[in-house]
Symmetry: C2
Subunit: 432 residues, 2 copies
């Protein structure tokens, strides 16, 4: 991961007037104890960036009235919009709304619509309504409620002296639902969304980060909008393009840079956004009506699992064998004892025999096999931990690749990398 990729960010020098300045506030002692990673804050920041709203600060505070008030007052001094998450529940520790109301000098009142929601929530689930629950319907005077179809605590919007405060729950599913259903439309309607938005696109590439950086270095230097930032991932590299401009401008900016990168990297770019490598492979297999079977030793089923992750996998997947032991390699694939003795189970010969056998037995177009030493033990000088052979048997013959991942990725890393290489061999074969 780059420490600090350049971004056409809210932190550029001169900004056009009228931009909403926002602060994201996360409330919860568990965050300060490090017991929970704050995925909510990044979700909220990303939603605000997408609306062209600048986030300049994020604050995190525990379940303590005085300190929550301090954080809200400080945020009010430097932001127009405060978007908070956490502390809306029924327990004594849930004090976000009451603390914020105190900071603003607003009295709490029972909000009848919110109270009806809380009662309905418990009635529908046949759960007893305790006196504690009424607390969730006590909103600052003049506040409006954000419906929460997924939980008991309603969200809250306060408009106060040209400032807007929005309170969402800490449960990610409830918070996200509220933001998508209510908060984003509300911010647009209120005219708080920016004329310029920040939009990202991620290209996913089956090359290492250093190779990608070498091939894109000049583009990365010259392209300021969008900026181009590579991030290393296990067995692949993601390149994030981040563009700033009006809704009409950002898409062509991103598309132009994506095209330039694709021209440099060719088929190594396997997808964009959230597309996984197995989805790209599944798409190619389905489109070309090619069937596949697997034979796995060190991956123990991981390759089959990944090939069957995408919905509709039955269009191309027959199945396969997990031949973890040598006995299983002989029994299910008929790999000759002599071959295993002469070359070892971790060998190009064994991988080839496994791939060809599973292809023949299953009657599929492709047979793919993986055998290697995932570690942490079992390595030798000649065959060290991280050595993996991957074979792809296809109608035109059998390709075998020897890869040495070393010890650094660890057992699960070696297994994942082996499945990644295997999937990419299928993808590259189909791209020919």
């Amino acid at each position: 991961m780059r420490e600090s990729p350049r971004s056409p960010a809210p932190d550029g020098p001169a900004r056009s007037g009228g931009l909403t300045r926002a602060e994201v506030v996360s409330v919860g002692t568990e965050l300060l104890l490090g017991q929970i990673v704050d995925t909510n804050a990044s979700f909220l920041c990303s939603a605000l960036a997408d609306l062209g709203i600048g986030v300049y600060f994020r604050s995190t505070v525990g379940d303590n009235t005085g300190r929550v008030q301090e954080v809200f007052l400080h945020a009010l001094s430097r932001a127009d919009l405060i978007l908070s998450t956490g502390g809306l529940g029924p327990t004594d520790d849930d004090l976000t709304v009451a603390a914020a109301a105190g900071a603003l000098g607003l009295p709490l009142e029972r909000h009848e619509e919110a109270w009806a929601h809380v009662q309905e929530f418990f009635r529908k689930r046949n759960r007893p309504l305790s006196s504690q629950q009424e607390k969730q319907a006590m909103l600052p005077r003049g506040a409006r409620m954000i419906p929460n179809p997924r939980g008991s605590a309603p969200g809250v919007i306060i408009e106060h002296r040209e400032k807007t405060l929005i309170f969402t729950p800490g449960v990610p599913r409830e918070m996200k639902g509220m933001v998508q259903d209510t908060v984003i439309p509300y911010l647009r309607e209120r005219g708080l969304a920016g004329r310029e938005v920040i939009r990202s696109r991620v290209l996913r590439i089956t090359l290492g980060e250093s190779v990608v950086e070498d091939r894109l270095r000049d583009l990365m230097r010259s392209s300021l909008n969008p900026t181009i930032a590579p991030y290393a991932h296990t067995g692949e590299c993601h390149v994030r393009l981040t563009a700033r401009g009006t809704e009409a401008q950002v898409e062509p900016l991103l598309a132009g840079t994506e095209a330039a990168i694709r021209e440099r990297l060719g088929p190594a770019v396997y997808g964009t956004g959230e597309t996984t490598l197995e989805e790209a492979v599944a798409q190619a297999l389905t489109a070309k009506r090619v069937s596949v079977a697997v034979a796995e030793s060190c991956t123990g089923g991981l390759l089959g699992q990944r090939l069957t992750n995408p919905p509709g996998a039955s269009a191309y997947m027959d199945g396969g064998v997990i031949t973890y032991s040598n006995a299983a390699k002989r029994r299910w694939l008929g790999v000759p004892e002599a071959l295993l003795e002469q070359h070892g189970a971790v060998s190009a010969e064994a991988a080839k025999a496994m791939a060809e056998a599973v292809r023949k037995q299953a009657g599929t177009d492709l047979g793919i096999a993986v055998t290697g030493i995932a570690g942490p033990t079992g390595g030798t000088v000649e065959k060290p931990v991280g050595l993996v052979y991957i074979a792809l048997a296809h109608p035109g013959g059998t390709e075998v690749r020897e890869v040495r991942y070393g010890t650094e990725p660890g057992r699960s890393g070696v297994r994942y990398l082996a499945s990644q290489t295997a999937l990419d061999m299928i993808r590259m074969h189909l791209a020919r």
Copy 2:
């Protein structure tokens, strides 16, 4: 996830004197854009809690000198110790140390030890040293350097007017290494660690959150130290115990409450800390010298993959078959065509036949089979999406479980839950 579990937290009312008040500062525009989840901050908070240092606020700011200064000045006004992450690299955006030095009124000077480190880092990697790199060795006057064996940017410690500021890089691996190797020992030596620490222990349980809550409700209410907070996870529940006290006090407190919970929940508690269910199963299989083979339909290899995750899996794992298609079920397991026609591939009968066949072929003690409808399509009124049959064939016979996970978990959720139930059936069988 509970919105706000009660914790014996830094936010309790009266605190013993002398406690170090810390603030964690994360620097990086990518955090404010929501492009990255801030796992560094939770790591740092957790390390501080473990040292008995109270974290009252966390702040996040972008790569902007003025705003970074503002955050440091504000943190200095309310904390004794500031621990920051991010913005130590060689680019123009990496401005954390310079900004903090400016806020403190300290001039930057080339730190010879740091400069030697940077030069050495590049020399060792045969990478050219650009003029930009010298920046990483420009430290505030009087600062000390934190070695960084994993990257180019050294960390920095400033002791200034009874305040301590510590700067670590944003690359997680480098930051964590620095904290473990240098920062924690430094804080202990300086006497900044607290007399009382906050220590957590997580119990991992193969029951749903609501069942766990029902069985532990009175314990959860009465136990204030440690507190008890359940968290829902896919196919299991984690209960976090959090104790406050001296080093000598916390372990017995945690052990006592763990024992009380184990008494209530029995063998459903499969492990503590980071132990995974497959590790618990692997341990039991290894200890009892029991061997296993798998037959997987809808999980497509996931169960085999999980069983072979733990190092040393060859002690118990023979292998198995992935019979995703009906043809594969006939071919590799000899499941009769008539059975598949009469009962369907997703049936108790098919699961039983698969488990028994794979056990017999592999000659293992156990055979475990999974067949179901992971979705999103392929469901019927009688056999809806989420219906899964899991069979465990053992020397005493064959057990079959029918489970209905519904559509809510989605395809990957149903697959994961099926593997979870299968692993737990093996575990429970071995516990008998």
